[in-house]
């Protein structure tokens, strides 16, 4: 019986989600100028739903102080208050409002994850393209260095580096970006290797184009499809890594709200059958899924794949 109702609500959620996606798509198509509208019309419902959710996350993150009913770090009640009219999702282990912290955490966690992924990509793509387009010893040095970095398990390496440089948000961003850029490097290099042998790259070289222009105008645009797909995936991994580090106490430091440490701080509630600690985890999961919906759609479009 429990399983049956579970499935029922899951189906309802999926249908509502897709319906929301559909309404969102219709609304956006109507509101945007023609060329963008034409592209958006091709978006599948999953991607529309994904875009809608991402948009909501962004709005919530940007306007957190306006949306949240209570401040981020203030103790406003007793510990572990149940859900009621004042504290919609109850309070946490110190008596802070759960809903408000969830909203502020969107700002912290998503913002930091985005910056970290972007940094990892800038670093990884630049070095990857350089290795592929120059080749020779440059490629050897970069590739072997990356091999060494990749030989150490990511989480342990991150813990090690954070212990050395000390825990701060900036340090965490840099450390995760460095570790993740090695994965991006591998992909960027492999994709670019297939592009540098094309005649148009040879033609550009013979024209006397400099390395920068060769990479930015000739190689990068043709490598975008797999890189964009990887960006979506990497974003999720970074997200999980930040949460994992926070859970271990090395990531975002209290009292700053973030989803990973919120799970840790309130984990004891699970033993009492309260699902509140799972909400931040659910927020992470939902964003991850939605980002991948959108990325999948973009990948299909960019690679010319048809269903």
């Amino acid at each position: 019986m429990g399983l049956f109702t579970g499935l029922f609500w899951l189906a309802v959620a999926i249908i509502l989600g897709l319906a929301a996606g559909w309404i969102f798509r219709v609304a956006v198509v109507a509101a945007s100028p023609r060329p963008i509208a034409r592209e958006l019309r091709t978006a599948p419902l999953t991607a529309s739903f994904g875009m809608l959710v991402i948009l909501i996350y962004i709005v919530v993150a940007v306007f957190a102080p306006l949306v949240a009913p209570f401040p981020e770090t203030e103790v406003v009640g007793t510990e572990y208050q149940p859900w009621d009219d004042v504290h919609v999702l109850g309070t946490d282990n110190l008596g802070r409002d759960m809903l408000s912290r969830l909203i502020y955490a969107a700002r912290n966690t998503v913002g930091i994850a985005f910056i970290t992924t972007a940094l990892a990509f800038i670093l990884g793509v630049m070095t990857g393209l350089l290795a592929a387009s120059v080749g020779g010893w440059v490629d050897q040095v970069l590739s072997r260095a990356v091999d060494v970095l990749m030989a150490i398990p990511a989480l342990i390496f991150a813990l090690l580096l954070l212990t050395i440089v000390g825990t701060s948000i900036v340090n965490m961003i840099l450390v995760i970006a460095l570790i993740d850029s090695t994965r991006v490097f591998r992909l960027a290099r492999a994709v670019a290797m297939n592009i540098v042998v094309m005649d148009y790259v040879e033609a550009a070289r013979l024209r006397g184009e400099g390395l920068l222009r060769l990479n930015i105008r000739e190689i990068l645009p043709n490598a975008m499809a797999p890189l964009v797909a990887e960006f979506g995936l990497r974003f999720c991994f970074v997200f999980l890594m930040i949460s994992a580090l926070s859970f271990l106490g090395l990531g975002i430091q209290p009292p700053t709200a973030d989803w990973g440490s919120m799970v840790k701080d309130n984990a004891t509630l699970i033993s009492f059958g309260d699902i509140t600690p799972l909400l931040p985890a659910g927020a992470i999961a939902l964003l991850t899924v939605c980002v991948n919906f959108v990325v999948d759609w973009q990948l299909h479009r960019a690679s010319g794949l048809k269903e």
Partner: protein, 543 residues
Amino acid sequence: MQEANDILLTMKGLHIEGRTDEEWLEIVKGVDLELRKGEVLGLIGESGAGKSTIGLAAMGFARDGCRISGGEITFDGINMRTASEAKKRGLRGRRIAYVAQSAAASFNPAHKLIDQYSEGPVKHGVMSRDEAESDATDLYRRMQLPDPDSIGFRYPHQVSGGQLQRAMTAMAMACRPDLIIFDEPTTALDVTTQIEVLAAIRDIVEQFDTAALYITHDLAVVAQMADRIKVLLKGEEVEESDTRSMLASPTQDYTKSLWAVRTHARPEQPPVIEGKPVLSIRNVTAGYGAVDVLKDVSFDIHPRRTVAVVGESGSGKSTTARVITGLLPPRRGEVLFNGEALPPDFRRRTRDQLRQAQMIYQMADTALNPKLKIRELVGRPAQMYLGLRGKALEERIRELLSLIEMEPGDYIDRLPSELSGGQKQRIGIARALAAEPQFIICDEVTSALDQLVAEGILKLLDRLQGEFDLAYMFITHDLATVKAIADEVVVMKDGVVVEKGPKSEMFQPPHDPYTELLLSSVPEMDPDWLTGLLKARATATDG
């Protein structure tokens, strides 16, 4: 059992549609076809004519994204449109066989030839594995493959392209089918290899009295192979008649235009006796690794002249181009441009030296960056070398597009994927012209194009040469192209220049033996040409 009629395959009002984006487009628009037992029907037409699609439809098969939407296909009394998949599978390979264009891509590289040969007959229960193996050896012998007893035990990559194509034909013969579909079986081969394959195919088809659909875009080839010819254009039949009358008196304008291509030639310009060559290659030896691909190559290219460099694959034609452009610094020898030695590595050349020698590539698809618009593709060299900006650049791009006979307003903002093959090649030409060079290397620029389109490109190149005083080095394996455009010819074989001189001398005896072989291997429109040639060669070796 057999009726008085000996019709093997009929198609009536065949319609085939292909899916693009949201809608179905007709690829084949009502074609009728009839093939008697033991007869060879040639299907010719440009790319997009629907030749291969019709060939596959004869097996009751449509490619992914295509569907047979109307008409009848009857093979020996069996309705191929309603036959079950199992029944069709029983026919395919056993009674109808297919020989693909690229044998190298069609063989499974992980299995030996004989394993792939035996698969069909054993699966269809025609022969046991041992019988199949001895049968394979027999057919390999009949296909005049070298070393027929052991060649089957090699892997596809250990066998040359022409041999692989013959092995594939032998494989198609394995179950002694009633019908074989040959889909451009010699298009990817050199002329001298093509002859061997054509002779072997014709021989074996005659021996077993097999009917065949022979699909090709090369008229001269189909003239040797087919009893009847059907000309197709954009999915519709243009005309059909038996080979001799088709060659002698085509009735339709389109067919006549196909015939006319072969006769185009421009007058040869008088040889240059004095004056400095634009480019001269002096005793160049170059190669990769330990192997010398070019051995002591020398020739000159004079202003306003076209030098055709001819040879089979592996003869070093393209390597010569790489040496000239500086991609492959030679081991010995040098390249002079207007009397001055060019630095061997292109990275050490000045911008002006790079500008003066441009290149047009064989595959326009890979030579144009698919993510850039025509504006940038054509404009970049002008911007880079001549420093044009803003309005001046825009005007120059438009002027260049007009020069290559493309309406600037329509094309300037398109991507390469929105152009046809011939248009892409024109953009390649415009890009080379944008640098205002003195010398252009054309690397097989027409070999990936249909005859009529290729003809347009050759005429364009010809006109531009006169307008801008260009010198061309024309790399090609196609002697018809040489006849059409060259002033001088350089024949290469195994990295050595075998013969060089003005075109008129090249096409008149006496020749170097290799040039002779090359010249005599170019198929002619005469249906008796292959028979005659083989006879002549046989007597030559006997005597």
